[in-house]
Amino acid sequence: MAYHSFLLEPISCHAWNKDRSQIALCPNNHEVHIYQKDGTKWTRIHELKEHNGQVTGIDWAPDSNRIVTCGADRNAYVWTMKDGAWKPTLVILRINRAARCVKWSPKENKFAVGSGSRLISICYFEQENDWWVCKHIKKPIRSTILSLDWHPNNVLLAAGSCDFKCRMFSAYIKEVEEKPGPTPWGSKMPFGEVLFESGTSGAADQTGGGGGWVHSVCFSQSGNRLAWTSHDSTVSLAEGGKTRTVNSLSSETLPLLCVTFITENSLVAAGHDCYPVLFVYDGAKGSLTFGGKLDVPKQASQKGISARERFQNLDRRASETQSTDKNLSTLHKNSISQISVLNGGKNNCTRFCTTGMDGGMCLWDVKTLESAMKDLKIV
């Protein structure tokens, strides 16, 4: 587990290039910095300065080597590498609130931007005008879109929103692609069609309530499963097919902010508790269970406290009880806001990376975790 502290401020968002030698991140300001791996050190090689507001989302297309960034200034830029420097191209999103998240589609011929304007902009390149144009998905979104993820078929898009729902839309653009074949989520996919919406399919929960903001959504590698985390400390998984099953797990921790699949049955999520956790889904039983904490803190050395220290402690706190450890024993010292898969893809991940509000980035090795934690089984 390698932890590297980039800054003292939160890392707003990050993205890796194809061979994982460079990372682009936003150091909580209007810029994007690109760092190159240099042995064990990271050196800053590029600074992308074009946005007028905080950069809220970065995505790096692995094959075409283009970076798309979106910001609070209601703009998105597509950056291409020319003669050793990154050149921006403005994309007009036609939104009147900040952009919140951006994702390239799997074929990299379009990207989706979620914003506070209660809509999703699907942008594609128009050859005749040499210009990026966008189409909007508006209905039935009623609040800010917080997160997006594409289905491997390049057409379906999952969106998590502040109106407490996770939805799946069709983002089929006839100008750039062929009609998609049927999927377990549906076969008719005109642009803007809602194929799935969480929370509406019956299942009257005893506790009622609409849940919380949906912070993060993720498709599995095959696209047959969709997982999302919500602000009411729950993680849910929906499986496509004739019987749409949705399974939720209410966790005992603080809300989780990001989630990803690492195999078809296992999820890793992280959030305000500053450590990643594993969840396991059993397709046959249809149950989602807690798999374990993935951060093994170094055992605080149990050295004997000297008599003098004991008196000092008593004096300071005026109580008999052992004081709770004020320092966090996890690697990250503040909330983890983003998680990304580095090697192995979403069905056989071997390494993943987390960045957080403490300005640090941590690389996690799945094999090491499996051996370090007995009882941890990644199916």
Binding site: R118, Q206, G209, H231, D232, S233, S250, S251, T253
Partner: protein, 150 residues
Amino acid sequence: MSKSTVSARFRRVDVDEYDENKFVDEEDGAENQMGPDEAEVDSLIRQGNLNEALHAVLKNPPINTKNQNMKDRAEGLVLKVLSAFKSSDIEKGVQSLDRNGVDLLMKYIYKGFERPSENSSAVLLQWHEKALAVGGVGSIVRVLTARKTV
């Protein structure tokens, strides 16, 4: 030239009501939720079967109704059951509940904190400690984020 600034009546207009994009919660059909059965709970308390009384009072929570009276009655009933427990039995009572039950109990506990009466806070705090041990911080987060509550 200058507008009349004497009348401040415009300040009483609730502009949010006129916002066409105002978020309105979905109306969940209030499945006739009557709240917990008073007679059943009372008889169980008198019999001394407190765990059963706890389960009974957590049935049919008046979550979807707008009837404030029903909610108050339910809260009063829950408080009666919680106060009837001996301190040493609270932990067992909480352990006998499932995940949803613990969340619901937390909701009632916080509702009880809102309007403290003689001694209610002490009892509620004891229950809060035990419920927190089982439900974790997550159950409190769910109390805070619930759109419809008891």
